[in-house]
Symmetry: C2
Subunit: 314 residues, 2 copies
């Protein structure tokens, strides 16, 4: 692998919090520090990296606190909660990654850019919101909220009623100019949580909307926009598998985009889990000759970049 290969790394939820551990900031910082050991090792191999991370549990808790405290201070809209989560998680990653790089005697600046990601207001997803966010309510409270605020509310797994928001496709990254300027000199943390979703306001500007953007698809947009060589999607498993969790499970080391599409059509990958990752991987690998995607676990990332682990999609 030559030096200065450009890699966009999409971090899964387990890079920020271990399942079953408390959802405190202190615990997140501990896990992020471990994650940053891997990221620093990748940087030391000579790769130019940019980092995208998820924010599902974090933005959920920010919204939860905000809604819960609404009688003492006004609740924040969901786009603002997303911006807050970018500050929170970006701060931890930039602090920890700088420290791990320093330990390795590598002095590269690290910075988080607050990022807006444009979605199409006519995206089909707006007609059928599916992502539950925030507090659970009773049927009566839920009807009142739907009436007062115009939110779409749905019953969620027998636990009560919750607001649902759409998950539209990311179209473009508003702050892409900035990362283009920084990319070659700085490790940039961008598009946190898939980015703050905004729509065009018809006057050349953007307006925030309540929506959730898939962070792997946002990372794919970023990787294309900045002409990266590799999209590296990190998750809980070392390799993508077909017949997952069945007796005939088969782990995949290398697949073509056509094979990946066939497996997607056959329903091998869970929606909201492996499916968007494979979809993002295929989109990137198909976007230009020479581009490739890798899906693997955080702790196999270094081996996967050497071709010794993970699932390569090309």
């Amino acid at each position: 692998m030559p030096n200065l290969t450009r890699v966009v790394i999409a971090l899964g939820g387990n890079a920020l919090q271990e399942s079953g551990s408390p959802a405190t900031a202190e615990e997140q910082l501990r896990v992020v520090t471990k994650t940053c050991e891997t990221l620093a090792d990748i940087s030391c191999q000579g790769y130019e990296i940019a980092i995208v991370h998820g924010n599902g549990p974090q933005v959920g808790r920010i919204l939860l606190a905000s809604e819960y405290a609404k009688d003492v201070t006004p609740a924040m809209p969901f786009d603002v909660c997303g911006a807050m989560s970018q500050g929170y998680i970006g701060y931890h990653i930039q602090q920890s990654l700088r420290k791990e790089l320093h330990k390795r005697n590598r002095h590269v600046p690290v910075a988080t850019i607050v990022t807006q990601v444009v979605v199409d207001k006519d995206d089909e997803a707006f007609k059928n919101p599916t992502k539950p966010i925030g507090l659970f309510y009773s049927k009566e409270e839920s009807d009142e909220i739907a009436r007062d605020k115009g939110f779409v509310m749905k019953e969620d797994s027998g636990r009560g009623w919750r607001r649902v928001v759409p998950s539209p496709m990311p179209k473009a990254i508003v702050e892409v100019d900035t990362i283009e300027r920084l990319w070659s000199s700085t490790i940039v943390i961008m598009c946190g949580g898939g980015g703050i979703p905004v729509i065009e306001d018809g006057e050349g500007g953007y307006t925030g909307v309540a929506a959730v953007i898939d962070k792997d698809l946002a990372a794919e947009r970023l990787a294309e926009a900045i002409n990266a060589d590799i999209l590296l999607i990190l998750t809980e498993v070392e390799k993508v598998a077909i017949n997952f969790n069945k007796p005939d499970q088969k782990n995949l080391s290398e697949i073509s985009c056509d094979e990946a599409k066939k497996y997607m059509a056959e329903g091998h990958f869970a929606p909201g889990s492996m499916l968007p990752k494979v979809k993002a991987a295929v989109m990137f690998a198909e976007s230009k000759p020479g581009r490739k995607s890798i899906i693997t676990s955080l702790y196999s990332a270094n081996e996967a970049l050497k071709g010794e682990s993970g699932t390569l999609i090309r």
Copy 2:
């Protein structure tokens, strides 16, 4: 004034929220949009600008919601609340400023950088914390918190007991490398709320601390670090005054650093209000020949840059 003069602009609280108006995100966005008309006008005059903003009311409310909701989701440490406020406010400014620039047919990227600011762990301020933050508690609750968490608690204006944190001097900006790279091409929003306060951890890294950094002093650090020409501190009044609010009030159009120091020593400026602004202005004007500081109101900023309003400190 020649083109490409570099100006660091420190925005006061009234640039984000009007006094007496509701503390909602929607209202902040409305006020920020007005503020960004002024900032866009300054940019259109050919100045290279960087923006620093306060976060007092915002971080206070984030902490309030977080503490209030602590039984449903873990409360966030104060440094994290600061990072969240940078995401929140930065998002609004970058969205609004881009829109106002676009209306003026000026296409300059705008981006918020999450910023850590280094303070000295031996700063005298840590021995005497003075800044109240978060919820009010009864004496009993307060004693329990002091015992359990080691927080310093003080009685606040007869309304109950509150945690107090120190307000140390800013020493350095961790992400200064990044703004140096962006400065000439991008309007950067940095050091929000004075920056997330961190101390050196003795291993070449930094650790967040619960403290409040004065945003005007942080803006001064930034202006020195990036070799700005002008530090423009925007507040509620058009000019700095001596004998403020007395029959013999005298507004100042231009003062030397020595005069400013004399007035400070005579107690003309209120601590926590005009005093840190004048202090920051003097520090910057004295830091290198040719540098100057201006203190004025948001709406006199353009005139002040032309020398037709405000108080010039040189």
